[in-house]
Symmetry: C2
Subunit: 368 residues, 2 copies
Amino acid sequence: MSFTLLKKSSNSKARRGKLKLNHSEIDTPVFMPVGTQASVKSISPDELYEAGFKIILSNTYHLYLRPGADIIKSQGGLHKFMNWKYNILTDSGGFQIFSLSGLRKLKEEGVEFTSHIDGSKHFLTPEKAVELQEIFGSDIAMVLDECIKYPCSEKDAERAKNLTFNWAKRCRNAHSLASQLQFGIVQGNVFKNLRKQSSEEICSLDFPGYAVGGLSVGEPADIRNEVLDYSVDWLPDNKPRYLMGVGAPEDIISGVKCGIDMFDCVLPTRNARNGQVFTKNGPINIKNASFKNDSNPIDDSCKCYTCKNFSRAYLRHLYKSGELLVLRLNSIHNLYFLNNLMLDIRKAIEEDEFKSFADYFLSQYSKS
Amino acid sequence: MSFTLLKKSSNSKARRGKLKLNHSEIDTPVFMPVGTQASVKSISPDELYEAGFKIILSNTYHLYLRPGADIIKSQGGLHKFMNWKYNILTDSGGFQIFSLSGLRKLKEEGVEFTSHIDGSKHFLTPEKAVELQEIFGSDIAMVLDECIKYPCSEKDAERAKNLTFNWAKRCRNAHSLASQLQFGIVQGNVFKNLRKQSSEEICSLDFPGYAVGGLSVGEPADIRNEVLDYSVDWLPDNKPRYLMGVGAPEDIISGVKCGIDMFDCVLPTRNARNGQVFTKNGPINIKNASFKNDSNPIDDSCKCYTCKNFSRAYLRHLYKSGELLVLRLNSIHNLYFLNNLMLDIRKAIEEDEFKSFADYFLSQYSKS
C-alpha cells in the first residue's frame, strides 16, 4: 500500500496520482460514491464497478448501529457482507454522531450519543472507532475527530481542533490492521491559524494519508475554497489528500485545483433520487414538464447504461408515476457522469491542460 | 404468428406449446411479469431478459392515464418507450377501471370512470380499448370485458357475460393491427352454465387466443380450480389459453394441470417488495429475525443474480435499513424462481412426467 505522485500541474496545484490499496490500485483524483448502510442507494456492486468505481465509502456510525459489528464480523467483514470486491473507505462515525444522533455528551474520553433508530445509548471512543473499522476490514479507516459546524467562535474551533489532535494520537496508537491505511483529519473550521496548527499536529503523527475535514459544513463556497487552498499547503506532497463530503462537479474541480486527490459525497445519488441529473450543461430536473415528450437521453454525449437505453420522456414518466426504476437509472447516470469527470480531470492533468479543461468544463456546466 | 401444440400430458390436461409472436417465439406454459406503468417495478429490461422472460404484461388503464397514448405514440410505441425488445401483452383497461378508478357508470356503449390519479372523467368503449392497444403496439391485445367479482348473483354474472360478448364482437370488428394478436375473454363467474355459454359465444368469434377471466377475484381456491377445470374444456385445443391474474407457484401448477398456457400476476414482484421470497420449500420473509446472521442465499439451489451474490443476512439488513436495493434483489429472485418453475414444468410435460413433478414440487413447497 503506497501513494505515488505521477504528475503535477504546472499552473495549478492539481496532481495526478496512484494509490495502492488492499483490494486494488486507485487512480487519483478520485470520487468515492457513498454506501451509507453497506449499500450505495439503489445501485448493485456490479453497477458500481461498471460505472468505473474501485472505491466506495461506508459509514461506521450506521454500520455500528445496524446491522452491528458482530454481524458484519461473523459474515466475514464488510466486503464479503455487501459483495463488493474493491476498496472501501470507512469514516469514523464522528460526523454522523454530531449530525444525526441525539443527546450528545462530548468528553475527553469519547462521545456519548443516542441512536437515531431506537434512542438507545452508546459511547464511542477513538479506540472503539478504530476497533469497529478493523472489524469491518475497510481498506482506509478514518480517525475519530470533532467536526465543528460553521459559523463557530475561534475558541470553540480551537477546542475541537485540540480534541481532534488528542483523539488522532489515540487512534494512531490503537490501529493494528496491516491491510488497512489509517488517515488523519485536519480541523480548524475557517480559521487559518488553526488550520495551520491542526495540519502540523496531525502531520506530526505521520499518517499515510490526510483528510481536510470541517469544510462543506455551512460556510460560503468562496470561504471554503480559500481555507481549503490554504490548508492543503500544510500537508505533505507525498501523501494522498482527501476532501470529505464534497461531490458537486464544480466543487470537485475547485478541490482538484487546490491539490485534493480524493472526494466523497452523497450528492450525486441523493440528487438523482430527487430527479436532479447532471449534464455537461449543468444539472436538469427530469420531472420538468419540458421533458415529457423528449426522446433524447439525459446527456447526448454520455455513454452510461441509462443514456444508452432510455429517453428523458421515459425517465420523466417513471418519476411522475413513482416507479422505483428511475431512482436507479438516475443514480447510475450521475455516478457515471462523475466518474467520467474524474477520468477527464486525470487526463487533463497528465497532459498539463487541467486549468484550461477546468475553465472549459465550468463554462459549459453553467449553461443550463 | 401462430400457436403450436407440441405435447399433451397423458394423465392431466397440461400442455406444452410454442407461441410465435411479433417480437419472438414464446415457450408455453409461460409466466408473464407485470409492468403496470411500462416498468416491472424496480427491474430493468435487461434484468427481465436475463431472468428468462420474453413476454411481459402492461396495463392499458395506467398507460392511458399516464403518460397518455399521445406520448407513447410519439415516442415510437410502448416497446421503444420502455426499451423492451421482446413481447408485450396489454390488457384492455377494464379490470383496473373496476378495481382502481372511482365513480364508474357502466353502459352498453362503454364505461365512464374517474382517474385514480387526478379525478378527471374518462369514457372507455370497446373500440377505444382496441385503438389504445394498437397505438401502444403490444404483441397481444385483450378485448374489453366486464370482470365481475365473487360473490355475485347469477343474474349479475349473466348480465356481465352478455355485455362481455357484445363488447368482444365490437373489439373483434375494430381490430386492425396485423402485428398484434387479439385475445377474447371468457366470463361467467363461478356459474358453470354461464362459463359454458360465455366460452361458446366468445369462441364463435374465432380469436387467436382465449383468456379465462373473472377468476382469482375473491373465490376460494377449490371453487376456482373446479370452475377453471370446467371452463377450459370449452376452449379449442389449438389456441393458447391464458389465466389472468394468477402467479403463486401452487396456483400456476393447478392452472397448468387444467390446461392453461399463460399466466400473469403482480404477486412475485409485489411480495418481493414486502420481503416475501420464494424458496423450493415455500415462501419465507426476509425480514424474519432468524435470518439476521444467515450467510446462506435465499434458496441454495437457485442460480439467480441475488442468490449467487448475496446472503439472507445482507438482504435482511437492507430490508430493515430501508435500502432500495433489496426491493430489486428480492424481485429478481422471485421472477427467476417463477421462470425456473415454468422451465421445469415445460420439461416435465415434454417427458410426460408433469403429474409426478407437480406432486413432488408441491410436497416440497409446503415444507416452510
